[in-house]
Structures are given as C-alpha cells and as structure tokens.
C-alpha cells in the first residue's frame, strides 16, 4: 500500500515537473541608445525571442540584427553593413542563468531584483556577462527588464575615426520582455 502511494506521489511529481511552464516571448523589445554631444542614435528591435525557465533559471535572449529599426536610412545601412556586418553575423544572443532564483516568486505579484550571468555573443565574439535587472510579476504576467552597457570595441566592432565622435564609447542597451506562459 505504502509503495503504491509512494509511486503515485512520485508519478504526480514527475508530471508536475514536466508540466512546469516556461515563459516565452517572441516579441520582446531590446533597444540601444548611443549618446554623444554630436549625435544621439537609437535602434529598436521588437522581435526579440526569449525563453525564461522559472525552475532552472535558464535565460535566453536572441535577436536578428536586421530587425533593428532606425529613423534614418543611412544609420540603418551603416549599422548593418559597416559595424555589425549583419550578413556575416546575423544574430546576437545571450545565454545564461538567473543566479538568485530563490529570491524570485513567479507565483506572487511583485518586482524582484534578478541577477543573471552568462555569455553574450554578437559580431562573432562571445564574452561573459553578469548583470542585474528586474523581474516583475503582475496578475501572472512576467516581465523582465535590464540595462546593460556594451563597449563596441569589446566585440571587435570597429568605428572609423571619422565618425568616432558620433558614437558613444559605451552603448546603452535596454531589455524589456513581456512573457507568455507556455
């Protein structure tokens, strides 16, 4: 009898585990902002794919460089052709984990500080990244937000000296992802 109950409990436990939902978004928003006294430049990408596993803490952001939108055509061309070389390196990805999962209750409304660590790959260069952001839970809807400073030079992105004054040494990247439970 005991064994029966135990095995049923175990079975239920396994079902529970496999049912554990992942949070998924295909329409996340990532944008960057470069500020200098000469010029402010921003690009927005509204088609960021992201997967957040609340059980393991696994976190993925993935975007296509060409899906960044600019106000001015010339900037869009320069971004894709000269800086990011988007035909050669079409994607940028972050793969990592939330390291303070014990501090985040996905079942309870609130705004939680989240620490993430992992690897950021863009322009064919992969670098370790550790950053702090927030996880907001509101009526069961989970939103992840973070800001991160990217130094173009770290990712072998060469800025010609002619325009060096117009592009910030550190470009501010903002992440804003609203997830669907899946």
């Amino acid at each position: 009898m005991k064994i029966k109950i135990l095995s049923i409990a175990l079975l239920l436990g396994i079902i529970q585990l496999t049912n554990a939902q992942k949070y998924i978004s295909k329409t996340g928003h990532i944008w960057f902002y470069s500020h200098t006294s000469m010029e402010d430049i921003e690009g927005h990408n509204h088609q960021v794919a992201s997967i957040l596993d609340p059980v393991t803490g696994d976190l993925i952001f993935s975007l296509l460089q060409k899906s960044f939108e600019f106000k001015v055509k010339l900037l869009e061309e320069h971004y894709n052709e000269n800086y990011m070389e988007s035909d050669k390196f079409p994607k940028a990805t972050f793969k990592g984990k939330i390291t303070n999962l014990d501090k985040i209750d996905f079942k309870k409304d609130g705004t939680y500080t989240a620490e993430a660590t992992g690897e950021l790959t863009m322009h064919g260069v992969t670098k370790p990244v550790t950053n702090t952001g927030t996880i907001e839970v509101k009526n069961g809807i989970v939103t992840a937000k973070a800001k991160y400073k990217v130094v173009p030079k770290d990712y072998n992105i060469e800025i010609p000296s002619l325009v060096a004054d117009k592009i910030a040494k550190e470009v501010e990247v903002t992440v804003d992802i609203t997830y669907n439970a899946n």
């Binding site: 329409t27 927005h44 509204h46 088609q47 296509l64 939108e69």
Partner: protein, 140 residues
C-alpha cells in the same frame, strides 16, 4: 557682369546644390515598408519555415535580404510603440513567421487573429525557431 563674378556665382550655385543633395542623402528617412517594391519570391509561411528548419545556412543564402511575399494565417498580433508584430503560423506547425509592421502600414481592421493574409517583407533570418520579416506591408 564681369567674368569673375559669373564664375563665383556658378561655383556658389554648384556648392549649394551639392550640399542639398548630400543633406537629403544623410537625413533620408528609413523605409517603413517594402510595399512599393516587387517581391522576389512568393511562398507559404509553412513552406518558408520548413526551409529554415531543414537547413538554416542554405535558407539564409536563398532568402536573406530578399523581398518575400508570404501567405499564412494570423496566430497573434502584438502592438508596440512603433508598430505591430504579426505572427503567421499554421495550426500544425511548431513555429511560424514573425512579421514586423510599422503602425502606418497596417490596418488592424483587416489583420485579425485567424484571418489568412499575404504579407510582403524583407527576410531577416531565423531567430530560435521562427523566421523573421521586417518592413512589412499587406499584399493582395
């Protein structure tokens, strides 16, 4: 009018014209859609997805930066500050085609969940498990 004055005036005129041309080029607005351009390829959303699922590299070679006219069923619409992302997905497929529209190029009275539409856009590649198009417009 002296000859020198004439030359100076002509030079000034040429400078002004070239300045205007350069400025127009520098500040030219980015295209919000490829609506006025002819599609390079016509394909169903499901078939396009399969090409990328089977071999991403060869699909990139074939479709990247091309203007594609894709037909499919609207599975979801997500609005943002600048426009709407329309997700075309066949019921039986695991993923689909994500189409980025500027808010000036979409009519949300026509584009609704469950409706079959034709979308013209530039193919940006394969993101995790979806194909992405941007600068989209509705096509007949």
């Amino acid at each position: 009018m002296s000859k020198t004055l004439k030359i100076v005036l002509i030079v000034i005129f040429i400078c002004l014209v070239s300045a205007v041309i350069v400025l127009m080029h520098v500040f030219k607005k980015a295209d919000v859609s490829v609506g006025s351009k002819k599609a390079d390829i016509n394909i169903e959303a499901s078939a396009l997805l399969k090409k990328f699922e089977t071999n991403e590299d060869s699909a990139n070679n074939q479709y990247l930066n091309k203007i594609i006219l894709v037909s499919g069923t609207v599975a979801s619409l997500t609005k943002n500050d600048q426009g709407v992302s329309v997700y075309l997905k066949n019921k039986d497929d695991a993923a689909g085609v994500m189409c980025g529209f500027d808010k000036t190029t979409i009519d949300t009275t026509i584009v609704k969940t469950g409706v079959q539409i034709n979308v013209k856009g530039i193919c940006n590649g394969y993101n995790i498990d979806d194909v992405e198009l941007s600068k989209c417009s509705l096509a007949k």
